[in-house]
Amino acid sequence: MTTIEIPELCVVALVGASGSGKSTFAADHFLPTEVLSSDFFRGLVADDENDLAATGDAFDALYTVAGKRLRRGLLTVVDATNVQKPDRRHIVQLARDSDCLAVAIVLDLSEQLCVERNKSRPDRQIPRRAIARQVSNLRQSLRHLRKEGFRYVFTLSSPEEVAAVNLVRQRMWVDRRDDAGPFDIIGDVHGCFNELVALLELLGYSVDRSTLAVTAPDGRKAVFLGDLVDRGPETPNVVRLVKGMVEAGTALCVAGNHENKLVRKLSGRDVQMTHGLPETMAQLALEPDGFADEVLGFLDGLLSHYVFDDGKLVVSHAGLPEAYHGRASGRVRNFALFGETTGETDEFGLPVRYDWASDYRGDAMVVYGHTTVPEAEWVNRTICLDTGCVFGGRLTALRYPEQEIVSVEAAHVYYEPIRPLGNVRDRSDVLDIADVTGKRFVDTSLGGRVTIPEENAAAALEVMSRFAADPHWIIYLPPTMSPAETSSLNGLLEHPAEAFDYYATRGVEKVVCEAKHMGSRAIIVVTRDEATATDRFRAGDGATGAVLTRTGRPFFETPDTTEEVLGEIRTAVDRAGLWDELGTNWLCLDAELMPWNAKAGELVTRHYAPVGAAARAMLAEANAVLAEAATHLDVRDLIERYRRRATAADGFVGAYSNYCWDVSSRSDLRLAPFQLLAGEGRTYFDRDHGWHMATLARLAHDHGLLVATPYLEIDPRDESTRAEAIEWWTSLTADGGEGMVVKPSNPITKDRKGRLVQPGIKCRGSEYLRIIYGIDYDTPETLSSLRGRDLRRKRAMARREFVLGVEALERFVGGDPLYRVHEAVFGVLAIESEPVDPRL
């Protein structure tokens, strides 16, 4: 049995003449979808597998498909003769472009055998001459395959050998997904031995100073990010210690650019004696014979990076873009060791580095060093731990999975930095268009994967770009809310009974009924002080929070008004002592801001008020004319209808007028917060609505901006409490009140099947509905046609938007980068642009 070991991810070139059994071999050892055969692609592009004129197009298509597979991390086999060098060059290039290895499996069988097998093929006959040429080409190629770029070459020279192959797929060396740590990841040491020992001891390791043997605390492992050597005072001891740990299995280490250079030097290559290499060479010269070779052997074997913990953690010296994780190529190693430069140089003559971390969008945490920073800070799930110990800074470690930073101060400045230590400008708070456009899938903890169609994203991009507030403040957008199922009661479209039934049948034992204020939705982010605004929200220009509409626009025209309103809210939170009670310096609130005309003034005066005025004027005239006619004509039906219409018009005007009052100054505004969404480190979706109502009621103040929301908690299964709530709703809506919202007591509630129930259901008053469905909507004919309304789509939207809104807040409180929060709120806006009956 011949065992062939190939990497889990690679491109395999089958090399062999026609009739050598490549396709059979492929079918025996690979999945059908892993094998791309040139014959098959000829068929695809030409309807004829033997059409040699289609070979060019066929290979174009084959390479395109192969490229896609390899990018997606899938092993790919190219089943073509591959006996000529130019064909193989394409395959090697494909491997390089996809940052994986190329493997050649050669079926070097006799010409005679190939010819015989070819004869027995039913579909086509290759001339004997052609086969002879292929075999001869193959024989000439054999010696060169490695040089051409195939990392592994396996040659099978007899049918027996082919039949006996045992093909094994090996994990990539850098792949340590099954190792979840816990780890202590340590930044650039640069020969600072004392600081390294101090740090290890701080991390709970014990170090024997004489043997340099290290004992790790229970189950932990150190991971070194490279640049162990150069510049500092004790490079040999650092290498000795780390090498010992690696050999003992208590540490792993990746290569840094300084190891790379030292290896070249120790291998006898001519390298520039700069950047601390002379110090290392001088120190090594004092070591016993053979130590330098040990160092060389150890450093030369270091890998470019590691992937740990099921792909959730990646370490490398200079960082690594997501496309390179777990890959093997010169390009990957180069990036991992040196990073990427833009080709420009800064004022100190040093290369300007490509800021890959700002562009990083991967899910894996990437921990790296290389670039000296004053503080280890997260940028898009990446963190640089090189805090410049050798330059007199600190030696820093990150504990994983705890994500805790531990560091020790340098005892001295061992080496003068060329460039003063300063923060690299962080571009990560500028969003990338690729974060929001196209068809998108947003993974949420509450509701799984939410799909955002491309056209919705396009509409949302326009709204977001033209009208939305600074994205740093948009950490939540509210979901739409579905009405109750259509009521069967005479003359009514909506009634609380259906909302109670909805929750009761889903096993909800307690609901809260909140009076629905008719104003405009306002999402409020308020900070305790400007420092919190700057530090937590990275806001500039002195803003201490935001008041946003449901589409993320600033609620007020001027920042001054916003700040005045925020000031009042802040004072109310101060007075209630909520900052300390909740342990937060900022709060996000869901609220309704009144009156309606404060925000929707134009809508009222240009739409609703004119319609009301026209209706009343026309109906008054009609009734007068009809009254006159009634003296001598039978117009009873018309009179009855027109009297009813006039009453409806009065109801319409009365309803919308109730939600309006003149706003001459800010003191005429009223704000009714009804949910505490989030504060530092946590959301409040796990608190029941009773808590929200009671807590927020403490903010209310007579004649002040903030008002409490009346509410009632009931059991939706219990007739007596239902009746109480229905009576309350009836009184709320009798003179045009908007109605109420029924919510499950726990904001996040699932039904017996584990499906999320609606976070709220609105039950709107019958007079109020004139504003929505038209003045005359309650005539029997109109009502009966409206009863057919379908709520499913609206409810699906509400559920998806709710899930995304919660996700946005969870991401924000969890310290996720801006783009991750933005992705979720953008999704809410995108779904909101879906066409659904706006009256629901």
Binding site: E455, A459, S465, P471, T551, A609, M618, V625, L638, S833
Partner: protein, 467 residues
């Protein structure tokens, strides 16, 4: 909606003959959009009044009239206001009278009578004066009673609605003809699509009086006005609640106040000239709008590629139509690309251009967006040349109606003086390694500068900032 016609010419009962409707009956007629009722509130020899009460079926209204703002579909003034629906009802219900036909009393058809037409509600968005300008020149005594928007809110003022009485000694057919043409003109909205047959209808109904009407041009224009073009429904829905701030176009500066000079054209040629001087062959048009600059640039064969970016999909679709992208040869087509994008998001597609034109765009950005805009364009994309134009606010006093510090366009978030623009430009140069030359576009006013200011930025090959 309600129309009454009263005759005081004895015997007033003649009105019944002319209208072909019996005064003793209450009649109902089916209409394409609902129904009409005709009855006589008063019928005597001294005075006879006929009433035409028109009802719109709300479902049919949505089906036939929809497509605009969705809110409008369900809560709107159409059932109450005498508009083109009333014209149609007149033609259907009083068709013979309108055409001047009467089998029994043809002698009456051309007789002037003392008639009063009363419309319960008409809309006039240009006030009572507009009503008078329409009806007084053709001989009516006009009484218009305005209706307030809401008695409870005096500060909201008057609604656009009036109860209108028109009195004159005219033949009935003329009165009906006047109403038929002028009711749709009143509120400028027609409920059906206007096509060429409308021109014939207008000419027929306006025969003998429309030609000499002092408001003739307005009447013709409004009568034939087409419905507004398709609105982006999604946008409509999203913006409906928030009111109408910034409904204007992005980029492309459609409106420059009352400037008598074709400022758009001057701006275009200034920008094209600067781009030619810079020798740019790959050009990015940021905020391309409907693609006017793209069209200009494509005429220059030394330009190998123009990419137009805009945040509005609707604008890009219009640009594609305007430039006839689908009909271009492949060679030409390869020179153009259009993409949706936003200046507040970093965008890899913006790299690799020799020059970028940012024409009348920055003033549409909120102040917070200027920082990401700067990073995206000057920091990341880094074209060799960047041309930015924006209004010069100092010049605004030259536009009569802008003397109060308001902006030239509803969607402008700011307008800068020359000093403000210069300060912004210099700061960008300092941070990103550019040099800038500032120019004015349009005739200069003493001490105020030109209406438009232009900054031509050139990368100077260094990056002051360590990015």
């Amino acid at each position: 909606m309600l129309l009454t016609i009263t005759s005081s010419t004895k015997p007033a009962s003649d009105l019944g003959f002319l209208l072909h409707k019996h005064p003793a009956r209450v009649q109902e007629f089916s209409l394409p959009f609902g129904r009409g009722h005709v009855f006589y509130p008063r019928a005597s020899e001294e005075q006879t009044t006929a009433a035409l009460l028109v009802e719109i079926d709300p479902v049919s209204l949505v089906r036939r009239y929809g497509r605009g703002s969705i809110l409008n579909d369900y809560v709107n003034d159409r059932p109450f206001v005498a508009s083109s629906f009333m014209s149609v009802a007149i033609a259907r219900v009083f068709g013979s009278a309108l055409r001047g036909k009467s089998d029994e009393r043809s002698d009456l058809v051309d007789q002037p009578m003392s008639l009063t037409a009363r419309l319960a509600v008409v809309a006039s968005f240009h006030g009572e004066g507009a009503l008078r300008r329409l009806f007084e020149p053709i001989g009516y005594r006009v009484t218009a009673v305005a209706h307030p928007l809401n008695e409870r809110f005096a500060s909201w003022g008057e609604s656009p609605y009036y109860t209108l009485s028109l009195e004159a000694d005219v033949p009935l057919k003329e009165l009906l003809g006047h109403l038929y043409v002028l009711l749709p003109v009143l509120d400028g909205v027609k409920h059906y699509w206007v096509d060429e047959s409308e021109i014939d209808k207008l000419l027929r109904a306006g025969e003998g009086w429309l030609g000499a009407h002092p408001e003739r041009d307005t009447i013709v224009r409004r009568y034939l006005k087409s419905q507004r073009s398709l609105t982006d429904e999604a946008l409509d829905r999203l913006l409906a609640e928030d009111g109408s701030r910034g409904e204007g176009p992005t980029g492309d500066g459609a409106d420059d106040g009352d400037s008598p000079t074709p400022l758009n054209r001057l701006r275009m040629s200034a920008v094209v000239e600067q781009l030619a001087q810079a020798g740019a062959s790959r050009i990015l048009d940021v905020g391309c709008g409907e693609g006017r600059l793209i069209g200009e640039l494509l005429k220059d064969q030394s330009v190998t590629h123009v990419a137009g970016m805009d945040v509005s999909i609707a604008a890009l679709q219009r640009a594609a139509r305007r430039l006839k992208l689908d009909e271009m040869s492949h060679r030409q087509r390869d020179r153009v690309s259009l993409m949706q994008g936003s200046l507040t998001y970093r965008d890899r597609r913006l790299a690799g251009f020799d020059a970028a034109a940012v024409i009348e765009v920055i003033e549409h950005l909120d102040p917070w967006q200027l920082a990401p805009f700067e990073q995206v364009l000057f920091g990341d994309a880094r074209p060799g040349t960047v041309i930015v134009t924006t209004p010069n606010s100092e010049y605004n006093v030259e536009y009569n109606r802008l003397g109060d510090g308001s902006h030239r366009h509803l969607d402008h978030r700011f307008e800068w003086s020359r000093a403000e623009f210069s300060g912004w430009a210099q700061a960008i140069c300092h941070r990103h390694g550019y040099r800038v030359d500032l120019h004015g576009i349009g005739a200069e006013a003493p001490g105020l500068g030109s209406p438009t200011q232009m900054g031509v930025f050139r990368a100077d090959g260094t990056t002051a900032e360590s990015r």
